[in-house]
């Protein structure tokens, strides 16, 4: 960035940035020492809360009688919506969900009462004594039901949350003139985040301040929303993030924080609350199930001329972050391909299912299944090699994505080449150990715009300071949810200032102590908080160099700072240790601290879905998958996955590989087994017996490959890694199944039964 001054040390070998240093939080997590939200809850005497959830997916709440529950001697209080002092409303984009329902419930996870008691058992027991008089309403549970003319309206304005479109060129005309047109349809499933620790935490009053220790993804925004819902001024709310076992978008919407806060505020006492796995799955939003109709038109030589894409998404009962998800699905509708004429219509529809919102991939993951599936179909229709077709249409440097943004780094082709090479595509074998097994190979190339984008305010602030004990402290409001942020921040700070990684302590996610950093979502924290830490670090580095200038008769340009010492470039033996610099700095009154904000701008898409800068930057990735399909049972076994990601710069390569592997595993789950099953709005599998996630035995050999074409803005060239490893996986696996059996599976997850059924129905059988 232009505002970063001279003499920043570029990371060399052995430097903090680029080193696979062990994460500072790894040992405690692996040995079970780390106290997660639920562990904190039981460490002190407190009251216990329990939330009563709706008995019907859609009903009017006529009356709530709390008397019978209050009669229990162990019960301290029973709260309903009438007791909530503030707006009683929450929602990330639109405040449309009541904290406690006063007049209507719209899905089975809606909360109607909050019981506070002296024991957990009593709170749970008494919640069953709360009498709720419901008038059940007809529900709508599918997109078709929601759009029917006589459908029950879930919200006053009807059942459509929003529409998003792209109109680029004249896609309908171009389609009509195309030599070849293919059409394909996909339906994706409802997916749960399935993080390790369910929602759990404590709340208490510290004087006037309501303090909540529970995991979210954006402590400052949670404090703002909670203050509104509970009618408190912002400065009377403090949120502290405990160590967290994964989030994946699932902690983005507020939930447990509100109930903890309400209970502690109104009783004045310390309160704990922990969701069971069933409650966690019933209450929380899910990944959008979407239906996609995708058409590509191409010339005989394979050149794409048009894409026409229709998407309908199940929004569930409330808005959540749905609108942003729809926008992301639209802006990523043609992925990394050059398509001159694009016509996209995305519609989000309310139903009485779980609300749908943020989950790793955020709309881009569902649409990738469709554009890659359509590419495979187009290749077949043209009689052209899948790789050749992609090569012909992948973006090249200087090309623009569908939204018309021209990207500084376009490495789609390079990613694909690396994936092909690592899986051994050219020499691939279709041999199998038995005739009922068929082998197949699939390929995906994806791109992903990181950050919130679309003009949404997106910033991170960070502070760095030296303590009197010569430790370097980094303060950031960002949350660590397992992704490795704490180590990223330490390595970036060490690099920027010129100290060793071990000297750095990172203080995270406490609204009373740390500056606003935005959410840990949208693959943004390495880019945003990494940049803020780097800017602040460079500022501090300059203070150190200035101090050295008073000690050595050398121009600052001839000095370098690394590994806790300042030395002359020309003669590194001439050096001043960090302790001496800090001592001198203190004597001279230097602040020895610095704060910086990183706030790159984006521009919202116009009515035609166009924006020269919808996202701050894009990542490219390519996955290749090898599968074995049992054609008699439909069972799919993934044999190998190669995942190539152009991260710009891996701040910690080992951690980046870990993120890639984790994303691939989650992608295998989405491709083959994970599915929330509901019957008229009620979950049939809110548990890990029947909500199937991959086990270690389902994980094949994963080969992560990191490319480093530096980003012009990101910290030390880094972009990020979070979401794309998941996004690229399902299309590669589905493509491999298609290759193995000659049939495209149009519905995820591609369970054994679905594959079997598709084979039964395939022509020629």
């Amino acid at each position: 960035m232009s505002d970063i001054r001279v003499s920043e040390a570029a990371p060399t070998s052995g430097a903090p940035v680029g080193r696979s240093a062990t994460r500072s939080d790894a040992r405690d997590k692996v040995t079970g020492k780390t106290a997660y939200g639920g562990d904190r809850a039981v460490s002190q005497e407190c009251l216990h809360a329990h939330v009563l959830r709706a008995a019907h997916p859609h009903a009017i709440v006529r009356r709530i009688e709390t008397g019978p529950a209050l009669a229990d001697p162990d019960v301290v209080a029973v709260f309903t919506g009438k007791d909530v002092p503030g707006t009683n409303l929450h929602g990330m984009i639109r405040r449309d969900q009541e904290l406690l329902a006063t007049s209507r419930v719209r899905y089975c996870g809606d909360a109607v009462a909050l019981v506070v008691a002296r024991t957990r058992q009593a709170a749970e027991r008494a919640s069953k004594l709360v009498v709720v008089d419901y008038e059940p309403l007809p529900g709508v549970f599918t997109i078709a039901e929601a759009l029917a003319p006589d459908a029950a309206a879930i919200h006053p304005e009807g059942n459509i949350l929003g529409r998003q479109r792209i109109r680029k060129g004249d896609a309908l005309a171009a389609m009509a003139e195309a030599d070849v047109v293919v059409e394909t349809e996909f339906s994706t499933q409802s997916v749960d985040h399935a993080f390790l620790d369910t929602e759990a935490g404590v709340a208490y009053l510290e004087g006037e301040v309501l303090t909540i220790e529970a995991a979210g993804q954006w402590v400052h925004e949670e404090a703002r929303l909670l203050a509104l819902a509970l009618g408190l001024p912002f400065e009377r709310v403090r949120i502290i993030q405990p160590p967290t076992g994964g989030a994946f978008g699932g902690r983005e919407d507020l939930g447990i924080q509100l109930y903890l806060g309400l209970a502690a505020l109104l009783t004045g006492q310390r309160v704990e609350l922990a969701y069971s796995r069933a409650e966690s799955m019933i209450a929380r939003h899910k990944r959008h199930p979407i239906h996609i109709r995708y058409r590509f038109g191409a010339r005989r030589d394979g050149t794409l001329v048009a894409a026409v894409v229709e998407v309908q998404a199940d929004e569930g009962a409330y808005a959540s972050t749905g609108k942003a998800v729809l926008r992301k699905a639209a802006s990523h509708a043609t992925g990394p391909y050059r398509v001159p004429n694009v016509h996209v219509d995305v519609t989000g529809v309310f139903t009485n299912n779980n609300p749908t919102g943020a989950m790793r991939g955020f709309g881009a993951s569902q649409i990738a299944i469709a554009y890659e599936g359509a590419m495979d179909k187009l290749a077949a229709a043209l009689g052209m090699d899948r790789v050749e077709l992609r090569r012909r249409n992948l973006l090249l440097p200087g090309d623009a994505v569908t939204t018309s943004q021209i990207l500084p780094v376009v490495s789609a082709q390079e990613c694909m080449s690396a994936a092909l090479e690592r899986i051994g595509w050219e020499g691939r074998s279709y041999e199998t150990p038995a005739p009922h097994l068929k082998r197949g190979y699939g390929l995906s190339v994806v791109c992903f715009g990181l950050g919130y984008g679309d003009g949404f305010p997106d910033a991170s602030r960070a502070r760095v300071r030296f303590t009197d004990g010569d430790r370097l402290e980094v303060y950031t409001g960002a949350v660590e949810v397992g992704q490795g942020l704490v180590q990223m921040a330490a390595q970036v700070a060490a690099q920027a200032v010129g100290v060793t990684i071990d000297r750095v302590d990172v203080i995270l996610a406490d609204t009373a102590r740390t500056p606003e950093a935005g959410s840990s979502s949208a693959t943004r924290q390495t880019f945003f908080t990494g940049s803020a830490v780097r800017k602040a670090g460079v500022e501090l580095r300059h203070q150190l160099l200035d101090i050295v200038g008073t000690l050595l008769p050398v121009h600052p340009d001839e000095l370098d700072l690394a590994d806790d010492a300042c030395f002359e470039r020309a003669d590194p033996t001439r050096r001043v240790p960090l302790s001496a610099i800090l001592q001198e700095g203190r004597r001279r009154g230097y602040p020895l601290e610095a704060e910086a904000i990183f706030e790159p701008r984006t521009i919202c898409q116009d009515d035609a879905g166009q924006s020269v800068r919808a996202f701050v930057t894009y990542l490219f990735a390519s996955h290749a998958a090898e599968v074995l399909v049992d054609v008699e049972t439909g069972e799919v076994q993934v044999q190998r996955i190669v995942a190539v990601h152009d991260l710009g710069k891996a701040i910690n390569p080992l951690a980046a590989e870990g993120q890639i592997e984790g994303g691939v595993v989650q992608g295998i789950g989405m491709a083959l087994m994970e599915e929330v099953v509901r019957q008229r709005g009620r979950l049939l599998n809110p548990n890990f017996t029947d909500y199937i996630v991959p086990t270690a035995m389902d994980v094949p050999e994963i080969i992560p490959v990191i490319l480093e074409n530096p980003d012009p803005i990101g910290p030390f060239g880094a972009r990020g890694v979070g979401e794309p490893p998941l996004i690229g996986t399902p299309p590669a696996i589905l493509g491999a199944i298609h290759d193995a059996i000659g049939v495209q599976i149009g519905q995820t997850p591609a369970t054994a039964e679905r594959v079997w059924r598709a084979l039964q129905q395939a022509p020629g059988r």
Binding site: E632, L684, I692, T695, W756
Partner: protein, 271 residues
């Protein structure tokens, strides 16, 4: 042991035998079960063994799946045990618990059914031996009287056996369909299936067909289609009945082909 039986006859239905607890504890935690008194069998000495006694294998009720996995006596039993849960479950879960739970999806139960196991029950009035074909009554229901416990399980040596299971993933998976086949030393073939009826079940018609026709390829094909007709699966959120029926035939055919291949070197399998 006497103490355990005394407790049980005193507490009747209010006392529940606890073995590995992998079914019971989960049931209690999920609110499906409420238990007033536990009678923990882990303190009773000498119940955890897998012992070859001449032509028989004697298995103590507290023998774990991990122990069964390591026994070479009957491949179907070891293979079934290997597919139970994950390592933690196999180290705790027991053979008596698997039988006592009487789930239609009990993997070890399916293998034992094909192996014609005999289940020794002991109660305050003495012992008796129940053939496994008579043991299961319905989902969660067995012939164990309220004052009895499983004392031992015995199987006879067979010529060969094998087990296959299809679940929704590679481990910690409830069987969508499981199947075991056994070739007795007199050449008779037994076939048992899991998750395709209210209890683990034997495919009697397919067995009868093989008794006449042997393990020739056409006979195997015919047996597989008889199996598809004789199973009684249901539709649930895990799989459809139609699919379970189809897979039943596939698994049995593969298992029989395995038996046929391993019996090739000898002359026809008729005794």
């Amino acid at each position: 042991m006497t103490e355990a039986l005394e407790l049980k006859s005193r507490l009747k239905d209010k006392g529940v035998f606890l073995a590995g607890g992998t079914d019971l504890v989960v049931g209690v935690a999920k609110g499906r079960l409420s238990v007033e008194h536990w009678i923990d069998l882990s303190g009773v000495p000498g119940l955890s063994y897998v012992r070859e006694e001449g032509e028989e294998l004697a298995i103590g009720p507290l023998a774990t799946h991990a122990m069964l996995e390591r026994s070479a006596f009957a491949p179907a039993l070891a293979q079934a045990a290997r597919t139970v849960g994950g390592p933690a479950i196999r180290n705790r879960g027991t053979i008596a618990g698997n039988l006592g739970t009487a789930s239609p999806a009990g993997d070890v139960s399916v293998a034992l059914l094909a192996l014609d196991a005999r289940i020794a029950l002991v109660g305050s009035h003495g012992s008796r031996s129940v053939p496994i074909r008579d043991f299961f009554v319905g989902p969660g229901k067995t012939r164990i009287a309220h004052d009895e416990l499983i004392q031992e399980v015995r199987i006879r040596r067979s010529a060969d056996s094998a087990f296959l299971k299809l679940g929704k993933r590679q481990s910690v998976a409830i069987a969508l369909v499981s199947a075991a086949v056994v070739r007795q030393r007199d050449g008779r073939v037994a076939i048992a299936l899991g998750s395709v009826g209210p209890t683990p079940l034997r495919a009697a018609r397919a067995e009868a067909h093989l008794a006449l026709a042997g393990l020739a390829p056409e006979a195997i094909g015919e047996a597989a289609s008889l199996v598809r007709a004789e199973v009684t699966p249901i539709d649930d959120h895990r799989a459809s009945a139609e699919y379970r029926r189809a897979v039943s035939g596939v698994l049995v055919r593969r298992l029989l082909e395995q038996l046929a291949a391993s019996s090739k070197p000898e002359s026809p399998a008729r005794a």
